[in-house]
């Protein structure tokens, strides 16, 4: 080993505490980068491969009824490549547990193979006939259903036992949600089954009629023209909504997650590498300063500027390389675990956990750039050191009066130790900035974490409980009259029931359009608590509509504006509705109207669903009713959320550790640097009779003042982070709009104080073991 490298190695070994601290930061940064990027690359490439293999559809259309005879005409429509016409509807599944409410979405398929959204066979056989079904794999696994088993599904009030022929996966259902408001899959309560087209046509009386179309396009970029053509041509069959591939529920959730993680995986490592680089640069700068004589000797021996500079840059690069290798290695291992965690939510049959060399290369490049810049910046003074000058004692740094000293009325009252504290703080402004930045980082990141934890914790309880107050939401298989609802009430005997109309419509304001469920409610409904962003109660208006905040934002409308509701119901026209209020809704986007007023859209007097409250378990009663096609239990939704919460808690724990780590490492490193740099000063104080504790007190006071500033600007920094997170995770499905509350701030401050205090206490050891007499011998190299 070259002797300079040997010296470097010993130098690193000598200050191992600080180096380990920096290593941890580098490792954490690279670990997150590699783990997240690799997991997301695995997910994305596998998903795209899966889409390719199964010919994932480009456009999804929900129709009232689309006659078989028009399929051919649709195929001939300009830019349409292939068409798959299907019947899709939800139905209850009858299980041995009579209290359990399980529903399935029935999707019709061809006997042998589909052209679009081909099913990926996992087990059994693809070919199906009458009374035979293919079942989505996750649902089958969650419910322990195997090939050869029989399940019973109630369609139009008739129970059909269906023989399971195969377990399949579909690109349309990699993430299975009942609707936009469910947010999370409940694989044991809701699944997809695929039945043969003619068989379903026969038992539902819909032979030759379809309510769902999937298209592939010749040229995806011409989607809008095709949509227009389609609407002109087939509007008469009642177009409920047209969904482009990007907005297809499963696909959009997948890509939201992928893009969100991509952005975070770009941001977090940069913060960590930046902090590591800043500390490294400060350490190298201190080393160069302390090594002034050594640098002079090396130059006297004939070492060139480049060689000496490289010696110090090597220090940064070595730490970076070791941290990089460990971070990339552990990150790659973790990416497997993360990918499997994703599998709990997303199911991609072809998912490959593989190592992507590009991710590793980019991680290496990223580390090298950061460390080299840190090294160069920190060691740049090497170039200025002349060997002859380095042999002479350094001229003492010029002392300047600080601003505070110019105000004698204050300065004269300041004690001696506080004078030292203030002078040091203001003389080394870079250190001041860095320490306060360390505290600010920790405050900001922990604030974001506590805010996020508060938000996810309250998201569901706020939505299901405070905002929506029903125990059950049921869907009717046929629209029911007021009298029929009264009959239903007599059978189920809930504590309280209200009929509703919930129908999907396209809402637009000029060119901005959204397809959402419009919900018609009774005046004075007990099931919703509408509030605006200021927390004021908003009453359901008799005319006009309430829009959820996210919807109003994406349509760019305000109270008093009118939105156009496109009516797909044959014979009924489009309607302009005034926005009477904008309400806070955490999950999903909706329009709420008075049920009587909604008749302008739907026609007179019918309900297609109901909300009810009951303390009894009414699952069995509901399942037995022919008129009910689906039941959502709010309690079960909350249970599902609790499972999801485990994962969130894990993520939050990681984030708390990360944010604490940053503050800890910055304060620890900078304090150790400070002690090393000022050993002469402290030694002199010791000679003057200062105790070790008093000297530690000076450092503590300095750091406290510097951190206090960080505590102040950490708050706006945290808000910026939170706003960034809100932008990253902007979605129709949920809103990250909770305000930052005093509790979040208090927790962030307490947490940061703890981290910084621990870092400080550890540095006390350095003060205790510092050899003051040795430090007074200034000419040591």
């Amino acid at each position: 080993m070259k002797k300079l490298n040997l010296r470097l190695f010993r130098m690193i070994k000598h200050s191992k505490g600080q180096n380990i601290a920096i290593l941890i930061v580098v490792i954490t940064g690279l670990f997150t980068y590699t783990a997240m990027n690799s997991a997301i690359t695995n997910l994305e490439t596998s998903l795209l491969e899966f889409y390719d293999l199964t010919n994932f559809g480009d456009v999804y259309v929900q129709m009232m009824h689309f006659p078989e005879g028009e399929v051919h005409n649709l195929e001939n429509l300009d830019n349409v490549k292939e068409v798959d016409a299907r019947i899709v509807f939800d139905a209850p599944m009858i299980t041995s547990n009579r209290d359990e409410k399980v529903s399935v979405r029935i999707v019709t398929v061809d006997k042998y193979e589909n052209r679009i959204n081909k099913l990926f066979l996992e087990k059994g056989s693809r070919a199906i006939g009458d009374r035979e079904a293919l079942i989505q794999k996750q649902f089958a696994e969650a419910r322990n259903i195997a090939v050869g088993d029989t399940i019973t599904v109630q369609i139009n009030g008739v129970r059909y036992p269906l023989l399971i022929k195969g377990l399949v996966s579909s690109p349309e259902f990699t993430y299975v949600m009942e609707d936009e408001q469910a947010l999370m899959p409940r694989p044991d309560k809701f699944g997809i089954i695929f039945l043969e087209k003619d068989f379903v046509g026969l038992i539902t009386g819909m032979k030759g009629i379809y309510n769902d179309l999937v298209l592939t396009l010749e040229d995806e970029s011409k989607y809008e023209e095709t949509e227009k053509l389609f609407k002109n041509r087939f509007d008469k069959y009642g177009i409920i909504r047209i969904i482009e591939k990007e907005d297809q529920l499963s696909n959009s959730v997948m890509f939201e997650e992928i893009n969100g993680v991509k952005q975070i995986s770009g941001f977090i490592p940069i913060v960590f590498l930046f902090v590591a680089a800043a500390i490294l640069s400060a350490m190298i700068s201190r080393n160069v300063k302390n090594d002034r004589l050594v640098i002079g000797i090396l130059k006297a021996l004939g070492y060139s500027n480049g060689q000496v500079l490289w010696h110090y840059i090597m220090y940064a690069v070595s730490i970076g390389s070791v941290g990089g290798v460990v971070g990339i290695f552990t990150g790659t291992l973790m990416s497997g675990v993360m990918t499997r965690m994703y599998l709990e939510f997303f199911y991609i049959p072809l998912l490959k956990v593989k190592i992507d060399p590009m991710n590793i290369i980019s991680a290496v490049v990223l580390t090298t750039i950061f460390c080299t810049i840190a090294g160069l910046y920190g060691a740049r003074r090497v170039l200025k050191i002349s060997p002859a000058e380095s042999m002479r004692p350094e001229v003492p740094k010029e002392g300047n009066r600080i601003l505070l000293e110019k105000i004698p009325s204050i300065w004269n009252k300041v004690t001696f130790t506080w004078k030292i504290v203030f002078r040091n703080i203001f003389r080394d402004k870079k250190k001041f900035a860095f320490i306060s930045l360390g505290a600010a980082f920790t405050v900001a990141m922990s604030l974001m974490t506590f805010w996020l934890s508060d938000l996810t914790g309250s998201m569901f309880t706020d939505h299901y409980g405070s905002f929506m107050k029903m125990d059950y939401s049921v869907k009717f298989s046929q629209p029911l009259s007021r009298n029929a609802l009264i009959d239903l009430e007599k059978i189920i005997k809930p504590d309280y029931i209200e009929g509703k109309i919930e129908m999907p419509f396209e809402i637009s304001n000029g060119r901005l359009t959204k397809a959402v469920n419009v919900i018609g409610l009774q005046q004075g409904s007990r099931f919703f608590d509408f509030k605006d962003y200021q927390g004021n109660t908003v009453d359901l208006p008799k005319t006009g509509a309430l829009l959820s905040y996210n919807l109003a934002k994406s349509l760019e409308v305000d109270v008093g504006d009118a939105v156009l509701i496109h009516n797909y119901i044959p014979g009924r026209s489009d309607v302009y509705v005034e926005v009477k209020g904008i309400i806070k809704q955490i999950l999903g986007i909706n329009v709420y109207m008075d049920i009587s007023h909604m008749e302008i859209l739907t026609g007179k007097g019918s309900y297609n669903g109901a909300y009810m409250n009951t303390k009894e378990n009414i699952g069995e009663d509901l399942n037995s009713l022919k008129s009910i096609s689906g039941v959502q239990s709010i309690g079960e939704m909350q249970d599902a959320f609790m499972e999801y919460l485990d994962l969130t808690i894990l993520a939050i724990v990681f984030m708390v550790i990360f944010s604490g780590l940053l503050g800890f490492v910055i304060i620890y490193s900078m304090t150790i640097l400070s002690i090393n740099e000022r050993s002469m000063e402290f030694s002199s104080l010791r000679v003057l009779g200062f105790t070790k504790a008093e000297i530690f007190g000076i450092i503590l006071k300095e750091n406290s003042v510097m951190s206090a500033l960080g505590f102040l600007y950490g708050l706006p920094m945290g808000k910026i982070l939170i706003d960034a997170l809100r932008t990253v995770y902007v979605s129709d499905l949920y809103t990250f709009d909770a305000p930052i509350n005093a509790k979040n701030i208090l927790y962030a401050y307490i947490f940061t104080t703890i981290c910084l205090t621990i870092a400080q206490l550890i540095t006390y050891k350095k003060i205790r073991t510092l050899n003051f007499i040795e430090a007074l011998k200034s000419r040591t190299s």
Binding site: K2, K3, L4, L6, R7, R10, M11, H14, L293, V294, G296, I297, K299, A300, L301, G302, Y303, S304, N305, Q307, S386, P387, A388, E389, M391, V395, R779, T780, S781
Partner: protein
């Protein structure tokens, strides 16, 4: 007295001329001046200094502290640049050298020895020597040099485990093993006690005689001048006297 002194000067000059005819000039210093700023004060460290150093000589530059000895040595060694004047090394003007050439000059041709040894604390004695040798060509055998300075048993010790004399011997070995044209020693005995100082001077003499290296020692310690082939006396940035020792004495016989 004045006459005698002039006679002496004439005699020594004649001898010097005779020697210079026989020996090559290694350094030729012409009208060298150096001033630098210390806060608000301008210090004139060297004032119009001129002299020559011959190949293989043992030269002692004698003078009190602040007389400009170290500045002179630093400029000769390519560690510092003069304000004016020239330094020729083997007829090459090193004051014209750029940073790269100066580095190369220090690497190949000069071996420095400092008052406070200036070893690298986290390298052992042997490693300190290797540090210098690694970047040079045509170096001496390290083991041989270590033996010559009598450090065989201490070679693997760190500087902090060695006495001042031992550390200075490592510094000499480090400078000598590069096989430079000239060894420049800045108060090599300044931080040592008498006996250790003598032992260091012996080693320097040995390097001069056995390895045939030119050695320039600067010191404020007058008795050291007795071992030199030639002595340059300095005061207030000028050479005030230059003379040749006809019979340089053995370092062991020096006393102070």
């Amino acid at each position: 007295m004045n006459v005698m002194s002039e006679d002496y000067n004439i005699m020594t000059n004649e001898k010097q001329i005779a020697r210079s005819v026989m020996r090559n000039i290694l350094f030729k210093i012409e009208n060298l001046s150096k001033s630098y700023q210390m806060g608000e004060v301008t210090v004139e460290a060297l004032k119009d200094v001129s002299f020559e150093i011959y190949d293989g000589e043992f030269v002692v530059i004698l003078g009190p502290s602040g007389s400009g000895k170290s500045t002179l040595l630093n400029i000769i060694g390519g560690m510092d640049v003069p304000s004016s004047g020239k330094v020729y090394f083997k007829e090459q003007d090193i004051t014209d050298y750029n940073e790269k050439k100066l580095t190369n000059f220090r690497r190949k041709d000069v071996g420095f020895i400092f008052q406070f040894y200036n070893l690298l604390g986290n390298l052992t004695a042997r490693e300190n020597i290797e540090l210098a040798v690694e970047i040079c060509e045509d170096t001496l055998d390290i083991d041989e040099v270590i033996r010559a300075v009598n450090l065989q048993d201490r070679a693997n010790h760190f500087p902090s485990q060695m006495s001042g004399g031992e550390q200075q011997r490592v510094a000499i070995a480090r400078a000598a093993s590069k096989n430079p044209e000239v060894m420049l020693c800045d108060e090599p005995t300044g931080a040592l006690d008498f006996e250790t100082g003598i032992s260091i001077l012996k080693v320097l003499k040995q390097v001069n005689q056995e390895f045939k290296r030119t050695v320039i020692v600067i010191t404020h310690n007058t008795p050291v001048a007795q071992m030199a082939d030639r002595v340059l006396k300095m005061r207030s940035g000028r050479i005030i006297e230059s003379y040749t020792n006809d019979t340089p004495i053995d370092p062991e016989r020096i006393e102070w």
